[in-house]
Subunit: 119 residues, 2 copies
DNA sequence: CTGCTGCTTCGACATGTGTCTATCTTGACT
DNA sequence: AGTCAAGATAGACACATGTCGAAGCAGCAG
């Protein structure tokens, strides 16, 4: 597990927030891919559960919160994984997920609005 | 114009960042809708052009930056409008768009990662 | 080895989404 | 009025996406 992760164009640092400078097509494509991963209510909730746990979370503790089938949860977790937002590891019978805060922070920074200059 | 805007569930203040508390289904639905609006490369670029302009932008200045047809641009702008991310007004022959920074800020805050407590 | 449990992968299907062309609306200018 | 240009809307179509049930693949326990 934790194998197929897409290579991140902007690995760590990032481009300027969109309120500061317009994105070029390549940057826009990468940003849009990240947003797409969070554009489903179930995925966003999954992300929030994993990110707010403060620790890794077992899939078996996640599934009961949702009304959809196991395969569907698994599918959404895979999308989050491929977007670099979470990672996971199998330990014995169970699989644990944890957040990748850098990626979350990167997206947040992309959207951040600079202080209006009150001079 | 600037008529059909969806009522925003969380009008101004907002729920805690997803790294702090898990979203309930209603919050997740609203957040996901916002992310969906930004989940297309063209829309994200549109948003960045409008947000970084520092002023309103005429559609006629936007269209030439893209390789898609006018109606497609128009469609994407409508999606951004309905998501509460931009607003517009017609003045004479031209239509001008400007960003709604509160909404952008709200999304950014939703994703913000609190400082790790280094105690 | 056999069975059971947790999770993922596969294949199929209905629904959503991005794109286009054609058409309409609005306003400006003769 | 008539004409032109800028955008928006409508309708059609290909493709992407969310969902499910069935099957597959680890690990553990007898």
């Amino acid at each position: 597990m934790s194998k197929q992760q897409i290579p991140l164009l902007s690995s760590g640092g990032c481009c300027a927030p969109i309120s500061v400078a317009a994105l070029n097509p390549a940057q826009a494509a990468e940003g849009a891919a990240a947003f797409k991963a969070l554009s489903d209510p179930i995925r966003l909730r999954l992300m929030s559960i994993i990110a707010s746990a403060g620790d890794e979370v077992c899939v078996c503790d996640i599934t009961p919160h949702f009304d959809v089938s196991g395969p569907t949860i698994s599918h959404h977790l895979k999308v989050l994984r491929e977007a670099g937002l979470v990672d996971c590891e199998r330990r014995g019978t169970w699989v644990y997920y944890w957040p990748m805060p850098e990626r979350l922070q990167w997206i947040s920074a992309l959207l951040s609005v600079p202080e209006p200059v009150t001079s």
